[in-house]
Amino acid sequence: MTTQPVKFYQTGTFTVGNRLLDESQRSVQANMERTNSLNSGHRACQGCGEALGARYAIDAAMRAAGNQLVAANATGCLEVFSTPYPETSWQVPWIHSLFGNAAAVASGIAAANRVKGRKGVQVIAQGGDGGTTDIGFGCLSGMFERNDDVLYICYDNEAYMNTGVQRSSATPPAARTATTPAVGKRPGNVAGTGKNLPLIAMAHGIPYVATASVANLHDLEAKVTRAMGISGARYIHIHVPCPLGWGSAPADTIKVARMAVESGLFPLIEAEHGEVVDRAKIRHRVPVDEYLKLQRRFAHLFRPERDTERLAMIQAVADRNIARFGLM
């Protein structure tokens, strides 16, 4: 005779909410009173992962900070689609200055808050992968190094989407972009080593670094909440699919992000003071093909014939992540 402990809630915490769970275990997004920090009427494309990720993150941050939050934003899709004159979608105090200085502007806000004695007002800087890993990297590294009291959130959609899908240092190997077209003998992006910003952030020894995905809301919210409870420089890198740039169906945005996680290509980790302290385990592992096939930017890996070599190389990246971070 088998008895089961009743620790089972139909969907557990995989869904946004769950009527069977206590309110405190449901996500911020399940709450009817969520702030909708990035409100309706923004001009993001259909199925935009960044719009979703930004609301997820900022709503969670707002709850953690008791709505005492200021945000600085780098130039990019998120900025352009949220604040075209005369309308803004933001519900939080928000500033956009330049492409490459969001981290520094946030440092300035944090300094002002400190000198003005505004205790409890927290500062977030946010930008895309271009504004973070490339043009904004200097300011970001400076913010890290000074351990300024800022949470920086990078919404990584793996290319310069706002300008028309050009390669960034976060563009994965073999991906087609406007500046790494799918032509020639080795179509798509070169298979370099890229720039792994979460690891670089960790190398600064800052108190908190995490990666998150729009495919795992509870994990994302927990990390933002965690980060908001820590002072000093913090960094969260969120994987946000871009249907337009990736050539994926708008309806598949979360699915694509999920496949990135489940394949091991985008590990979900948490690090404190430079050391990995936790990782989200893969639930149902999939081969990288399951992720790549959903996106036209990788179509040349499958047509006219299978690019076995480069697929194996990408699979090896996933395998290494799984082994390195203990994702299984």
């Binding site: 005779m1 009743v6 969907t11 995989f14 869904t15 946004v16 009427g41 923004h42 005369p86 803004t88």
Partner: protein, 541 residues
């Protein structure tokens, strides 16, 4: 604050930008038909009652359940649960053990003494029901809920029909049956026992009935021609099982042969074992795979020591020896004699070859059509004679308790309509919520709970119930394994995953609405709905 022109904006002003105009397709919420509901012969809203059971509201779950089936404690034990065969969860790990939860709810209702509501008003119409089996009782219950006066005429000395005379008590304890019948009686249904109806029209006239529902069942055992000596002890399954309900139990001897391959054959063999037979042998002319009996029953019988002789027919019966012939399947799967004979020793032979209907009460009823020994009914369960409805084993269909209960419900709704001079029109069925429409990633992995089984030695010697019920803990667990196929269970996914905040959450139990002012029609809500309760539809201009 005197804000600088244009570069500094008031928060939330983007609401002026109605992005809904971008849409070429729109998401719409819908309820799809869960496969379990679709497969249920009694028309239960399984997903519906599981929904309430999931939150631990067993009373509400039971109330939802008995909307369609008044006998969940019985059904949870005896139904062969086609719902579970259809269950989408079976494609993930194992089907939800629906019958076990149903039984839990039924038992819970008995334990707590939950009663059916009395009808809100009386219609003044009188309906005669012939037969107090599952179909008759079901019809009585539904008609009573609709406010009609109901009288059941039962030929036998006890209620329950085949639930009592066809199903051994180790599968259906009689106190359970009694409790669920009594609850129907308590609604104000009159049951007359030992009241065989000889002529339906006479009885209706005499009782002033406005309509009648015939559900006499199939109680006449089918015979097969077997050359037999005068001393041969040959019985039929119906008599044996009916005998079990009387004070004098059937005498079957130390060794019993049962001839047949249906569930009844298994019931008889397992009963014989419990009555003290050392050997109970089932002789069946085809293979195990071809047996109509359910596999789990065969499995249980094997566990209890029942012997099987597959591909065998009985040629001749002597006093204690029976000659049998080996068969082989031809290319069409039909058994053919091989001429190879052997003898087996036994004290008695029980024929379990099926039952016929006693149609004598229908003699000379105008308009009635009888074909293949059963009464023809139309889609509304009405026979060729107006006002005369029929269901259960006496009409052409699969003969199970669940089908019979379903007939009772369907007949009751049609009788009600007919009494009001109308025609019952069932609600159109929703499209099926097939597995492909789900996003099963979201469900927690959870193999099904196992019901406790009675110790094997006691199973061989007593009539105690073989399969135990779930306790509250694992009943809740099991209910929560439901995927809620095709029906919103308020997981908030659509509300959460919309990049445009275009889903309005209406609050607990109220589900959601789309805000088409802002919905861009990306379809993420459809993709990420775990249960397939949203669909994209082309936008019309």
């Amino acid at each position: 604050m005197r804000k600088p022109f244009a570069i500094t904006l008031d928060v939330g002003s983007s609401l002026a930008n109605r992005t809904g105009t971008w849409r070429t397709e729109r998401p719409v919420y819908l309820d799809r038909l869960p496969p379990c509901n679709h497969a249920c012969p009694a028309g239960e809203n399984i997903q519906g009652w599981l929904y309430h059971a999931e939150s631990g509201d067993y009373r509400r779950a039971w109330e939802e359940l008995v909307q369609n089936n008044p006998m969940p404690a019985v059904m949870g034990r005896v139904c062969y649960h086609p719902c579970e065969s259809a269950c989408n969860r079976g494609q993930l790990d194992q089907p939800v053990s629906i019958h076990a939860v149903e039984r839990f709810l039924g038992d819970e209702a008995i334990r707590r003494g939950w009663a059916f509501p009395q009808p809100a008003s009386e219609s003044g119409k009188r309906v005669l029901i012939v037969g107090a089996g599952p179909s008759g009782l079901s019809a009585a219950y539904h008609l009573r809920r609709l406010g009609h006066a109901v009288t059941i005429h039962e030929a036998g000395p006890m209620t329950g029909g085949m639930m009592r005379f066809g199903i051994p008590k180790y599968r259906l304890p009689r106190d359970v049956l009694h409790a669920e019948v009594q609850r129907i009686v308590d609604m104000g249904v009159t049951i007359k026992l030992n009241a065989k109806v000889d002529n339906i029209l006479d009885t209706m006239r005499a009782g002033g009935f406005d309509a009648a529902f015939l559900a006499v069942g199939a109680h006449l055992a089918k015979r097969a021609y077997i050359p037999a000596g005068s001393a041969s002890r040959i019985l039929d399954a119906v008599s044996v099982l009916r005998g079990m309900e009387t004070a004098e139990r059937p005498q079957l001897g130390r060794r019993v042969v049962v001839y047949g391959g249906g569930n009844t054959a298994l019931d008889v063999a397992r009963t014989a074992k419990r009555l003290g037979a050392e050997e109970a042998i089932i002789v069946y002319r085809r293979t195990r795979e071809k047996m109509p009996a359910h596999d789990f029953e065969v499995q249980e019988a094997l566990e209890e020591g029942i012997l099987f002789k597959w591909l065998t027919t009985i040629k001749q019966a002597g006093e204690t020896t029976f000659t049998v012939e080996k068969m082989e399947l031809d290319e069409t799967g039909f058994p053919q004699p091989t001429g190879e004979l052997e003898t087996i020793e036994a004290d008695s032979l029980v024929l379990a070859l099926g039952q016929d209907v006693d149609l004598s009460l229908l003699d000379r009823v105008p308009g009635l059509v009888i074909e293949d020994g059963v009464v023809k009914v139309d889609a509304n369960m009405m026979t060729g004679h107006a006002g005369l409805f029929a269901g259960g084993d006496m009409v052409p269909s699969e003969r199970t308790v669940t089908v019979a209960v379903g007939h009772g419900k369907k007949a009751a709704r049609n009788i009600d309509a007919w009494l009001r001079g109308a025609r019952y029109a069932p609600a159109p069925k929703h499209e099926l919520a097939s597995f492909e429409l789900l996003n099963p990633w979201y469900y927690t992995d959870a193999p099904k709970s196992v019901q406790p089984m009675l110790d094997i030695l006691r199973r061989q010697s007593t009539f105690e119930e073989v399969t135990g019920g779930l306790d509250e803990g694992n009943a809740l667990f099991e209910a929560r394994r439901c995927l809620s196929c095709g029906n919103c269970f308020e997981c908030d996914n659509c509300y959460g995953v919309c990049p445009d905040n275009a889903v309005i959450k209406l609050g607990p139990g109220q589900r959601f609405e789309f805000n088409y002012e802002y919905c861009k029609g990306c379809g993420i809500c459809v993709s990420e709905c775990p249960c397939g309760a949203i669909r994209m539809e082309p936008e019309t201009i």
